[in-house]
Amino acid sequence: MKSLFGRRSAIVTAAIATALVLSGCGSSVNDSASEASGDCGSYAIAMHAWGGYTASAQVIADVARQELGCTITQTTLEEGPVTYDAMEAGTIDLIIEDWGGGRWKDWSDRGAVVEAGENGNIGIIGMYVAPWMVEKYPDITDSKNLNKYAALFKTADSGGKGAWFEGPTGYTTIGEKMVSANKLNFKVIFSGSEAALVDGFIKAEKNKTPFIGYAWQPWTLHSKLPTLEAARVKFPANDWSDPAAASGLTDYPSTPLIKLMSKKLNDANDPFTSLVKNFKWTNADQNGVAADLENGMTAEEAAKKWIDANAATVASWVGK
């Protein structure tokens, strides 16, 4: 069996083996470059996909790297249980902005996830119409008048009723409850992703077509549609203190956004732990960075711009 294949694979194996042996010994770039470490460990930050989150996460990651010498990896994954599981598994250490309103309870009860306080941003969720409609139909922002305009919002997918574009899958959504509690003649359409909503609002505004959809603050879309906030539909306030009383919900409450740490990060009690606990900024801060991102800066550039401009805040976070 002196086939070439045999001989050739022997050469290949030998070459690869040599390469591996070589890579195992000898000086490498690694040795010369293992400088920055300090007493800060290495951590993974969950990167959720919306622009505001990216802004917060990039800023805290860069501060941790530059000011504290931490090794930070940024891992993209979906929000919610997926990330809590990852924290429990030890592959994620920080969620910088969680909107979940306590849905991590099962994990925090087990000690896998630890609350690290509010991050200073206040989350506002609501139903918004396309801004141009406010001018044309001034009373549309009162939920009582929505049924009057329901026919405007009809699409091929809404079964004869108005189309109500619900928020992305992982987000807190109570559209079906709002529709029934406010007795609205609308059908909830699950837009599935943030992209779909951005698209819906921008197109509607541009083509002056009717649109009602889920939106929130802080959100980068506001920088593209500055009049969006005025287009929020006001629903009667409701009692959010008892989320279990599901059927009576008429509108979303404001939510202070929460930072969540892994058990490992909490227990480490090192400079990064205190940075996480101290991190706090405003909706305006976040929107500024997010807007830079939206306008084409890379996350690093946008974060650097904010860090450079807010040295004092950064100093207060790292305790210098």
Partner: protein, 642 residues
């Protein structure tokens, strides 16, 4: 007989429509999305318990967690080698130059220098797209999944190749794995093995092991039996027969199986990012979420490049041995010499990639990503600007003309009417056994509490499949009849099959907005290549003599197509329809991301909302049941028609 069947079909459809109209809106089993049935909340609680148990229950401590640890470790090892820095280091063990050199060397050794050159260019292109590290991560993930899949799949495949009984036991599982939309089993896997590389690897393996088993067993079974019998007649033991005769002879086809396994694993690269796989999936999914078509395509191109790279390098290895005759001494000597030189170069490159920073970390300045993103963004913007009128018109046409009536019929009719119709269809097309099976599976969906959502998904799948078949048949016949068309279309079909559905979900969203049709359109684009391929193969397989006979009898081209080629390829076309349905179903489910609702939305929602977890898991099962019903009815139909 044939006439009677079509009358029966017509009659039952009429009855179904009448009953549906009459009882419209009653017993639809619709419940609000946030509501759970006792069954779904039970499953949800169990799932939550399972999460809690992961640190306590012996099944986890002694079984699942060690598996997860081992696979994680394996993946991490490969990643550290080429993709990410290990502990206390800033670069991976082998830098980019080293990786390029090793790939070039290995591909050159297993095929020719041209393939090696192509592979290197593709790798460099991935780097230039700014995707070097993602690409390396994807290669690492693919490599890990493929190695493990082969380690399991080839022995099992050989076993199934040797024993009829084993094959019989495996077959239903292999069939099931082919029908199963990937999105469906990722949640349960993540539940047990947690989010991360291990789950992603296992999910990939579930997808690729069946392919390895199938091809290996087929390789053993389709061997020329004469040498095998001869070896037996000479007194070989079973082991000798296997090691000296069957495996050496089947080697070539098994290598082809490796190629297919690799391709299956690559096609998983994107979707696996949903459960924490590092790699190219991340930028693709990010692009979907922030609707950045340009970024989506940049990452998508990298996926395609990677797929082509892995395909060409592994299929070349398979083809190299068309004949069992090895090259001459002289050829061997020349090749050996060049191999040694190339090997030395590779070793030096690896060494350099460990000592010089420029060769270790892909230089950020070398990038064409912004340009590519800009071009694609501009093109998309132009299309959105100028074509939306047509696309929206088309979307509304399909929605009002097909989707809404069918949805009313399927989802707004009482469940028992629709179940009755499905069973009647199964009976007429497939016979009693198929009918019983369809009844049992349909009832399982009814009892799961997700009947209404299942009907929404069914509607979209049917409409998607119909459109796919219209386009796919036309293109398939065309490519089947003309070598030139086939030559032109082939690369597009190949690329279409490797490009992850997620990549075109983004522009589709731009064209059609968050609607059911976006999911359907994506499903159509995704499934057309496979339908075209199968149909054109079917057309090509029609014996030339038949066509010559028809031509000699004075048939027109149209008559040849409708009277000769289509009837002769009927079975293949039914199989193509079946494949189309399964593919459309798989994508319609992803449509939950873009407003398609239905079962897919529940699967996705179940992943992110703890209170919907049970519903999401059950929705996955319901998708599978739908798929099995489709598949059984179509397969039975294909069997009967032959």
């Amino acid at each position: 007989m044939k006439v009677r069947k079509s009358y029966l079909l017509l009659a039952s459809v009429t009855v179904w429509i009448l009953l549906g109209r009459l009882l419209n809106g009653t017993h639809t089993l619709q419940i609000a999305t946030y509501e759970n049935t006792p069954f779904t909340s039970f499953v949800g609680e169990k799932a939550l318990d399972l999460r809690g148990n992961r640190t306590e229950s012996p099944a986890f401590i002694y079984f699942f967690n060690p598996i997860r640890g081992a696979i994680d470790g394996f993946v991490q090892m490969i990643r550290n080698l080429i993709a990410v820095p290990g502990q206390n280091s800033v670069i991976p063990v082998i830098g980019w130059l080293g990786v390029v050199a090793i790939v070039a060397f290995v591909v050159y050794a297993t095929s020719q220098w041209r393939t090696a050159l192509l592979s290197v260019s593709l790798l460099l292109a991935c780097g230039a797209l700014g995707m070097w590290q993602f690409t390396m991560d994807s290669i690492a993930m693919t490599l890990a999944a493929v190695l493990l899949s082969l380690a399991i799949g080839i022995p099992l495949g050989i076993w199934a190749g040797l024993s009829d009984r084993v094959l019989k036991i495996f077959t239903p599982f292999l069939d099931l794995a082919q029908i199963l939309p990937t999105l469906v089993y990722m949640a349960p896997i993540a539940l047990v093995f947690m989010i991360g590389a291990a789950s992603a690897t296992i999910a990939t393996m579930i997808y690729s092991i069946p392919i390895a088993i199938r091809i290996t067993s087929h390789a053993i079974r389709s061997l020329n039996q004469a040498p095998v019998e001869a070896a037996e007649s000479m007194g070989s033991t079973n082991m000798q027969k296997l090691s000296k005769v069957q495996i050496p002879m089947a080697k070539q086809m098994i290598v082809l199986g490796i190629n297919q396994t690799v391709m299956a694993a690559v096609s998983f690269v994107v979707i696996a990012a949903l459960i924490g796989a590092p790699g190219l999936g991340k930028p693709v999914i990010d692009a979907l979420i922030i609707r950045n078509v340009g970024q989506g395509f940049v990452a998508g191109f990298a996926v395609v490049f990677l797929a082509i790279l892995l395909d060409r390098s592994t299929s070349a290895a398979a083809k190299r041995q068309v004949s069992f005759i090895p090259p001459t001494q002289k050829q061997i000597k020349t090749k050996r010499l060049t191999l040694i030189v190339a090997g030395i170069l590779a070793v030096v490159s690896v060494f350099v990639s460990r000592t010089m920073l420029w060769a270790a970390v892909w230089p950020k300045e070398v990038t064409i990503a912004p340009q590519v993103a800009k071009v694609t963004n501009d093109i998309t913007a132009w299309i959105l600007e100028n074509l939306t009128i047509f696309t929206v018109g088309f979307k509304d046409l399909i929605s009002y003309g097909f989707l809404n009536p069918l949805e009313t019929q399927l989802a707004a009719s009482p469940w028992y009417v629709t179940v009755g119709m499905i069973v009647a269809l199964a009976l007429i097309i497939g016979g009693t056994r198929t009918a019983i099976m369809s009844f049992v599976l349909s009832m399982a969906i009814v009892l799961s509490g997700l009947w209404y959502e299942a009907m929404l998904t069914l509607t979209q799948t049917i409409v998607g499949c119909l459109l796919t078949m219209i386009v796919g048949l036309a293109l398939g016949i065309w490519t089947g009849r003309s070598d030139r068309v086939e030559k032109v279309l082939r690369p597009f079909l190949d690329a279409g099959q490797t490009l992850p559905a997620f990549v075109y979900l983004v522009p589709m969203l731009g064209l059609f907005g968050p609607t059911r049709f976006t999911a359907i359109a994506t499903g159509i684009v995704y499934s057309i290549p496979v339908v075209v391929k199968i149909v054109s193969e079917g057309i090509r397989a029609v014996p030339q003599t038949l066509i010559e006979a028809a031509t000699a009898a004075g048939s027109t081209t149209r008559q040849i197509i409708t009277k000769v080629q289509l009837p002769a390829a009927k079975k293949t076309i039914l199989l193509a329809t079946n494949q189309g349905l399964i593919y459309v179903l798989a994508v319609v489910v992803i449509g939950g991301f873009v407003g398609a609702g239905g079962l897919g939305y529940l699967v996705i929602a179940g992943n992110s909302k703890p209170e919907l977890q049970g519903k999401g898991l059950i929705a996955g099962v319901a998708i599978l049941l739908l798929g099995v019903i489709f598949d059984r009815i179509m397969q039975a139909g294909a069997r009967r028609s032959s």
